[in-house]
Symmetry: C2
Subunit: 429 residues, 2 copies
Amino acid sequence: MTGSRAGDYRILHEAALRDYLAGLPEIVALLGPEPVSWSISEVGDGNLNLVFIVKGDRGGVAVKQALPYVRLVGESWPLPLSRAHYEYLALSRQAGLAPSLVPALLHHNETLALTVMELLEPHIIMRKGLVAGAQYPRFADDITTFMARTLFFTSDLALTAAAKKDAIAAFAGNHALCKITEDLIFTDPYRIAEQNRWTAPYLDALAADLREDMELHVAVSRLKLKFMASPEALLHGDLHTGSIMVTMSQTRVIDPEFAFYGPMGFDVGAVLANLLMAYFASAGHERAPGERQAFEAWVLETVEQVWNEFARKFLDLWRSEARGDAYPASLFPGEKGAARLEIERLAYMQRLFTDTIGFAAAKTIRRIFGLAHNIDFELIEDLERRAVSEARAVRLAREMMVETAAFRTIADVTAAARKLRPWMPELSG
Amino acid sequence: MTGSRAGDYRILHEAALRDYLAGLPEIVALLGPEPVSWSISEVGDGNLNLVFIVKGDRGGVAVKQALPYVRLVGESWPLPLSRAHYEYLALSRQAGLAPSLVPALLHHNETLALTVMELLEPHIIMRKGLVAGAQYPRFADDITTFMARTLFFTSDLALTAAAKKDAIAAFAGNHALCKITEDLIFTDPYRIAEQNRWTAPYLDALAADLREDMELHVAVSRLKLKFMASPEALLHGDLHTGSIMVTMSQTRVIDPEFAFYGPMGFDVGAVLANLLMAYFASAGHERAPGERQAFEAWVLETVEQVWNEFARKFLDLWRSEARGDAYPASLFPGEKGAARLEIERLAYMQRLFTDTIGFAAAKTIRRIFGLAHNIDFELIEDLERRAVSEARAVRLAREMMVETAAFRTIADVTAAARKLRPWMPELSG
């Protein structure tokens, strides 16, 4: 599946891409035999890459090509093409562990940093659906299966220490992508940084508060250190609702180019954070008070399900598939051993919950004060209303990051969110 | 310095070693121009390798060659020669960070898994000195400099995340040596395992207690997971008093073939554990009651100094040399930021202390119930006296591992040790 390494990287725009794909028999078989008739459109709305949808008589494919710089910023911010290799590697492993929850891989060319994948149709980016107030009945079950399986089976609970070390090393080279996270999520929002932005002037005072809040800086620094030095499992690494495509009956996780071995709570926290942001943004999308009540109730219910079902599935895997070197079964023999190990499993999940809450908070704050924002908030046109929604999300995030121990269960989180829904913050300006 | 990769590995016994060294001009210059006159003696008393001392008219060198199996067990337990590469790599880094505290590297041949080093003379293995009741006035200062510098400068506090990930990957292949630790320290002593042994029959009941002690099994499993999945810094990985050579005025750390990126507390705990074992063993080496009181007082004082001086030096480095990506200075501006960061530094050291105490306990228990014992206890000829000393050490270790939170300072550890000195355990048999 890996294409030739010969030849140099070049950006394939429409004509060159058509020629390239026409040379791949397996792709021609999918699209139809007349390349000139294929339609090709660039649809990338992410921050980093080119994404093409190619359609022919018989069907379509999606083509993703990495650019040697950050698309959102431009050539002034170079970014290694090797990320396409790590994305391909992660997608391959995810496909083995959760095959129906990622797009099928059709072709990969390392030199061109280009991957051809199954065209997901009629799937849409989940975040767009959430902005519109759509409810996705399959989502909680699917995303928790994805997370429980990809995290458990790449952890010390499922792998030998040797296999795990090899896997860590295989992803160690993806550090340029990790650095984006380290800077943009764990550092810049808490200090003066050129690329920061927020809903000014309304959040000016809140932004200044965050920069002065040393308890928060300690908390985010601990999370950053955990992100850098806790290779617990193979993470997706960017698991927000813009990396998830959905229909009413299907869920697909895309774009694992930030994949590396890191702390599990970072992935789980990303999902929770993005649901909580959708919840707080919802008020800003109301055209009439209470209009989105059912949606908002569903979002909070989904927040609870995401943690609870993830924990349940992860624990079930641990009980039945623990072939790794951690917590060896031989140390927990008999009924007494089994009972004690079960208590430890729950304690482990409680520690993971604490991590998750902290990472969720960090993922929220970066979307409101950092470089990359999300349409949940950005599509609220009235800036004052947008700022109200954002300030509510930030207040919860600040509590989650600094008062983490106060959140013992996911119901504590949804209760706090519900309580903040009517809160009217004092805004600047 | 790295020799040719051409040719196959072969074990170099005396004659072949003489020929090999005679072909190395830099070694001939050190030893003297007449290879036939060199004396060569095999002195390896460790568990894994061949070690030769080669002396000529002008001077001497030490030569270490890895065997493709565990020397202690034999060819039935193969072990990769690549450990010589990791040892060389670790020794090079340690030499850069603590140059006067490791032997000088003179020559390395990757294919032969062979390293020629400075001959440490008249240094002796520290453990032998401790058995004899010797006090080493330089030890606490030297070993804490070694640990503070090698751990700090290879951590996220000193390195960029990218450099750290590269370094983790560079040592990831040393997993066969890590597995020895995972099995022999963190697993086997707590279950029936063919290679376990203890001072029978006196410790039979205690061995059985340990195998039934589920609180201990949870604690050691958490430590094992931390050992496998917390690459905080480049560890020596086997920092017991048999890996330290001393005179009254010098300290040299040798044999870092277990080096890998792991939790810092494992190295610090190894030093503390081996001092505590020397303390408890001392009673067994007394020929008259109280004869070794001054020695024992010095050992406990050294235990305290090792932690306190390590912590002081590590904190000093953090305050002055923190160029890593963790805890970025820009998040802790001004007096308020500096004050809050200082509090966090102390909290970080407290977490590291807790890890250290746990790892010290694990390192103790393995020496009394696992495969590899140490001469501190083994040279106590009267088995009942030996068992008494061992039982005291195990009782403290069990408290340190399970009631870790009760030990807030190193003085809590030495107080507990002092209290156990006269305790007479009930023995089996």
